[in-house]
Structures are given as C-alpha cells and as structure tokens.
C-alpha cells in the first residue's frame, strides 16, 4: 500500500469519481413513475396468487376504470419499509393497501393523500374503524375490512371440566373456569406475548378491558391487567412459551387440543374449521363484565402522493370500486374479515351465523392509533410490550414494569 505512487493514487481517485458520477446518473433516471399506462397496486396479501379472486377483482376494477392494474403482494412487515422507501424515491404505487396502524406513520411522512385531495367517500364506514386512519381531522384512507381478537374455546375440554362458556362474563368467572380446567389436567389458555407489535395487540383487550388508557401505562387498572397475565403464568394457567409465541404458534398450541382457550383473531376461522375438535368463540371479557374493547386489525386502502396529480381521479375510481358494498363482501369473505360498513356486516352475519360474535367484537373494538395518538402509538406500544415481557419473564413485578414503561413512553 505504501508503495503507491502519487500518480497512481490520483488515477484511482479519478476512477472513483467517474464511478460515483455514473452511479448518480443511473439513480436519477429511476425517479420517473414506472409504467405510464398501468396503475400500480401494492397489497400485504402475498398468499393470493395471480389466479385468485382478489387479483381478479383488482383487474375488474381496473377495466371498469379504463386502465390496466399491475399488482404486487408484499409481506405485511416488509410493506411499511417498502412504502417509505418508495415515497422517498418518488415512485409510490397508485393504490397502497397497508395495515391500519401504519397509516399514521405514512401520513406523518407526508406520503398519503387525504380524502380532501382524493375525493374518496368514507361516510359509510364505521367510525371506530375509520379512526385508525384519521389524524387531526383528516382522513388518509378507507378500511377494506377489519379483524379483531376473541377467545376461541375447545368445547370438549370445557364440557369435561363442567364449564359453561356463556357464563364467562368477567375476569373472575374466566379465572374460575381456568381453575376447573386445570383440575381436570388440561391446560388453561394460550396467547401471544412476543416482544413485537403482535404482543401489544394481544395484550390490549385486557389492558383496555381493565379500564386503563394508553396515555397512562402505570395506572392501577393497567397494573391489574398485567397482574392477571402474570398470575396465569405463575399458576400454570398459561404456558411459559407465550412469552415467545406469535399468534400463529399460539394457535398451534391450541390446535393440539390440550388448551381450553386461545386468544386469537378472525383470520383463524378457516383454520378453526380444520381443528380436530368442536370449538366456539366468546368475546374477551372486561374486568368488570361485558365485552372488552379489542384493538382493530385489518388494512386500509390509501392513495399515496404522486408527482402527477392527474392520476388521483383514476386511483379514486379504483378504490371506490374495491370498497363498494358487493366487492367488500367478496373481499372480506376471502380474507375472513368483518366488513367496515354496517349494512355489509348484517349481510355477513346472516349468511354465516358464526360471524355474529366477530361482528359484535368489531363493533366494540378500538383503533390502536385512534384517540388522536397517531405516531405516539408506536412508542407507547413498544414500552407496553417490553413491560409485558419483563413481568411475564419474572424480571420485574407488573407495577415496576409498567412504571418503567410509562417513563420510557413519555421520555422519548
């Protein structure tokens, strides 16, 4: 290295500079919107292949709007980063379907148009679902369907233990049911308390069901909710593996037939039919009785900001088509979601009585980023799942863990 002559070093710098210039030239040419004719749609449904009904619906909506639609399905966690990068590079898709809490992040980034700009009609949508897509009085998208959490139960296990699921109305009756199941040598309940957004999502029904608010993580009600979970682990009502469980692994535990209850979502309904035992669902009880507000899951259809604003009119037609009553019914049936429109919810419940519990749960549900929390929610949520993990793993008591969580959420 030391033997390099000065001229050689100069030449090396020249080559580097040339390379950098060439690299720059290449990247600037990619700023043009891809495919002038086709309208790009990104969705988080990679499970749907090109011959699926979902893609057929996208094509059909494109045809009726007079354009061709080019669709790409991404993994849902991947899509947030993809959407942010695309917004940075100025090549966002024309229509973007994303998980509802991501909307406030993308809106904060200035990557989404509001309904004032894109003229979407959202008046038919249920207010509690639409809340996740609203910030400071502006609406950034339309819900395409909603899911939420409830308790699945194993009928055989409950019958053997002499528990009537209809009698489970509050935490006390749930605890006594868990005790009875345990006495029969079966396992109580499984859920997911993993250290990601999924863990917060699963904890929220108990958190809100205790009367706690996300703005005050260390309230006595919040401590009571975390104590409920911690005691389940201590008493053996719930397996220790919940700390690492995703909602999928938690479902696999329930599917073994050893568990009486599993906290899981609408999206498992198709799998529930394949279980080797009869099952039922009840709403997650609140501390003092009645159904607890569960967080809403499900995606929003949004129209990202484009350089050529002329494209919004066609994008608006596409979204309106996707979220029209008949198409919502078809889409939400394939996704096993509950529709965001009351009239369509009625139709779903009448065609499939099993969905009645879910329709009620969705009506009682709350958006995570609602209450004008917006982009404050991700910080609160991270503090919350960390506290849940700390308490369940025995690192801290529920009170200490939540006090630390409140400090972390307000500090940042």
């Amino acid at each position: 290295m030391t033997g390099l002559s000065r001229r050689r070093r100069l030449a090396a710098v020249a080559v580097l500079a040339l390379a950098a210039a060439a690299g720059g030239a290449c990247s600037s040419s990619s700023d043009q919107p891809a495919d002038g004719g086709a309208y790009l749609v990104w969705d988080p449904y990679p499970q749907f292949a090109d011959d699926s009904e979902w893609v057929a619906l996208l094509k059909k909506c494109g045809t009726s709007a007079g354009v061709t639609v080019k669709r790409t399905g991404y993994d849902t966690t991947d899509l947030t980063n993809k959407a942010l990068l695309a917004a940075q590079q100025g090549n966002s898709p024309d229509v973007l379907i994303v998980d509802n809490p991501v909307i406030s992040t993308l809106a904060e980034a200035g990557a989404l148009t509001t309904t004032d700009d894109n003229k979407l009609d959202v008046s038919a949508m249920a207010a509690n679902l639409l809340g996740a897509g609203q910030r400071d009085g502006k609406t950034y998208g339309v819900p395409i369907g909603a899911n939420t959490l409830a308790l699945y139960y194993n009928k055989d296990v409950l019958t053997a233990a002499g528990v009537d699921p209809a009698g489970i109305r509050d935490w006390a009756s749930l605890n006594s049911a868990l005790g009875k199941v345990e006495a029969k040598g079966k396992k109580g309940i499984t859920f997911s308390a993993i250290g990601t957004e999924e863990g917060s999502f699963q904890f929220l029904p108990w958190f809100w069901g205790s009367g706690a608010q996300l703005t005050s993580l260390d309230s006595p009600q919040a401590v009571s909710a975390l104590t409920l979970w911690t005691d389940w682990l201590k008493q053996g009502h719930a397996p220790n593996s919940v700390i690492n469980n995703t909602q999928t692994t938690s479902w696999q535990e329930f599917a073994t037939g050893d568990y009486a209850f599993a906290e899981n979502g609408t999206w498992q309904l198709a799998n529930a039919e394949k279980l080797g035992f009869p099952y039922g669902t009840i709403a997650i009880p609140a501390s003092a009785g009645g159904p607890a507000p569960a967080p809403t899951g499900g995606e929003f259809v949004s129209i990202p900001v484009q350089r050529s604003t002329g494209r919004y009119a066609t994008s608006q037609k596409l979204v309106t088509c996707l979220t029209s009553a008949d198409n919502l019914l078809a889409t939400d049936t394939t996704l096993s979601y509950v529709a965001p429109v009351a009239a369509v919810q009625e139709r779903q419940a009448s065609t499939d009585p099993k969905l009645k519990v879910w329709v009620e749960a969705v009506r009682a549900a709350k958006g995570r980023t609602g209450d004008n929390l917006g982009t404050k929610y991700p910080k609160i949520s991270e503090a919350l799942w960390t506290a849940v993990q700390a308490a369940l793993s025995g690192g801290k008591s529920p009170g200490e863990a939540l006090a630390a969580a409140q400090a972390a959420a307000t500090n940042k």
Partner: protein
C-alpha cells in the same frame, strides 16, 4: 448499470494490470497508454465497489449524523445533528447490557466453535472407516438455511413442548425456560450459534492440517514425542496462521449475527439476548415508527468493532512476518 459483457472483461483486469506494471518497476512516460488501459480494466470493479459498498456505507454514515424522522426521511431536509445520534445510543440504558451481550456472545461462540472445530478436525485427520461420511454429516448445519436451523432450535428449546426439556425431564431435571427467561436466553442463542459455526471451523482447520508435512510428525515420532507434545509443539504452532484467519473471520461473522437471535428470541425477553446487531434492526425496522438515525449509529459502531478486530489481525500478522 454495468453491462454483463463488461463484467466478463473485468476478470483479466488485475492480471493485465500486474503484467503492465510489475511492482517495483519505475513508471515511465512511454508506458502511459497501457496504464490507462489497465485503469480501464479496473473501472468495472471499482464502479461495482463504489456503487454497492462505498455509497451505502457513506449513506449509513450520513444517516447516523442527521436527525431523521419519517417525515424528513421522505421529504428530505433532515437537520445535521452531529454526533447526537451516537450520544443518544451511548447514553441509552440498553447500551451497556447490549454491548456486554455482544461481547459475551462473540467470545463464547468463538471459543467453543474453535475448540470443538479443532477437536473434530484432529479427529477426522486420522483416516478411519466412515470418516468421510461422518465429516459430510457434520457439515449439515452449514448447508441448512438459517431460518430452518433457528426455527428448529426454537422448537427444541420450547419451554413446554420442547425436546430438550422432555429429555431433561427423563433425567429428573426440572424444565428450563430456555428462551423465555432473562437468565437463559443469551445462553440458548449462543448454543445454537456454536452448533451453526462448528462446520466452518472444522473445514478450515482440517484443510490447514492437510498442509502440515507428514515428515515433521515422523521425525517427532522417532524422537519419542507423545500425542500431547505433538499437538502443542507441532500442530498448534504450524496451524497458527490458519487459526488466526479462522478466528478473525469467525469474529466478523459472529459480531453481526442477527437472524438466529431474531428468530429465536427477538433479542428478548426484555433485551436479555439483544446484541448490537438486533438492537440496530429494532431501532430501524422493529417499530412502526422507525428511528433511522440511532439505528444507523449502532450499525456503524458494529462496523468499527469489526474494523478494529481486522486491524488488530493485520498488526499481529505483520509482527509475525517481521520475526
């Protein structure tokens, strides 16, 4: 960016350059055209390195020196923050424990991977029936995709239905919460990482053993050296260059191990198995609201650690050559 035909012409590049300007020959003006030709051949690979290595690295450094929010990430205009992101990271209460975990994880993984790899290499150096088949089997962890290995370990170490706890139960030992207790999670990911790293050490050390001339062993046998003496006086010193490069490569691989930990524990519970690599990812992508600045800062600290190790290696090697 680089047309595919250009890459094929790039291959003879370094060779051409070497023949055009042999090291030590005085540069002469008459040779200039061939020198430009040499640089021309060098251009594709330089372009490649600049585009895919230098530029991302520069961007990462820039990212860590500015205060990025999602808004300024998309719209531009993030204010220059100097070393603020580094300060945030260094004063974070998670920093101390994360750095300790990184060091423990790296040191323990390297020690056991190297130790076991060396023992197996010596074992397979003696030819015996089935030695080739067995050696091939030991390579399996290396061939498996990390997602498969890590998921398999997750199942094995599951608290309630894992095979490891079932086996412990047979022996009358109480079940251990391998992945879900703060006291055990780092040990569990280290065990999985050692298992994955053994084949690499085995292969390199085994090939190193092949290059030790048999005469040396014969001479020592004539002198009546015991097996133990032969290892410490012949094998180990002669393997030193190979050992050094194995350890250095292992160090760089292990420092940045991310997938195994993320799949098995997500760095949890409560950061008890978090390393700098998982922390960087969590800051940048693990939350709905990414913190790109601090995430990039942690990533850069990791690069600096690897760089220090690399420089240390070069220094040791140079000192050995001088001797």
């Amino acid at each position: 960016m680089v047309p595919p035909t250009a890459t094929s012409t790039a291959v003879p590049g370094p060779g051409e350059a070497a023949t055009a300007a042999p090291p030590g020959s005085p540069p002469s003006r008459a040779r200039r055209p061939s020198r430009w030709l040499a640089w021309g051949f060098l251009a594709p690979v330089t372009l490649y390195l600049a585009t895919f290595y230098a530029y991302p690295l520069y961007r990462n450094v820039e990212l860590s020196l500015r205060e990025y929010t999602v808004r300024s990430f998309v719209q531009g205009g993030a204010p220059f923050a100097g070393l603020d992101n580094y300060r945030t990271v260094l004063t974070d209460q998670a920093f101390g424990s994360t750095l300790t975990h990184t060091l423990i994880f790296t040191a323990a993984s390297l020690a056991f991977q190297f130790g076991i790899g060396m023992a197996l290499a010596l074992f397979f150096h003696q030819h015996f029936p089935l030695s080739r088949t067995l050696r091939a089997l030991i390579l399996v962890p290396w061939l498996l995709p990390l997602i498969v290995s890590a998921s398999t370990w997750t199942w094995l170490l599951n608290s309630d239905s894992g095979l490891v706890n079932a086996a412990l139960g047979v022996l009358g030992v109480d079940p251990v919460n391998w992945l879900t207790s703060p006291g055990w999670s780092i040990t569990s990911v280290i065990i999985a990482n050692i298992w994955i790293g053994i084949p690499f050490n085995l292969v390199i050390l085994h090939s190193g053993l092949q290059s030790i001339p048999a005469e040396v062993y014969e001479a020592s046998a004539l002198d009546g050296a015991t097996g133990w003496q032969r290892f410490w006086s012949i094998t180990f010193p002669l393997l030193r260059p190979v050992s050094a490069i194995t350890l250095l490569l292992g160090l760089i691989y292990t420092l940045k191990v991310f997938d195994i930990i993320w799949i098995m524990t997500k760095g949890g519970p409560t950061n008890s198995s978090a390393t700098l690599a998982t922390w960087s990812y969590r800051l940048g992508f693990g939350n709905l609201l990414p913190e790109f600045g601090p995430g990039a800062a942690v990533g850069n600290l990791l690069i600096v650690l690897a760089l220090i190790a690399g420089l240390g290696y070069i220094r040791i090697e140079r000192r050995q050559q001088l001797r």
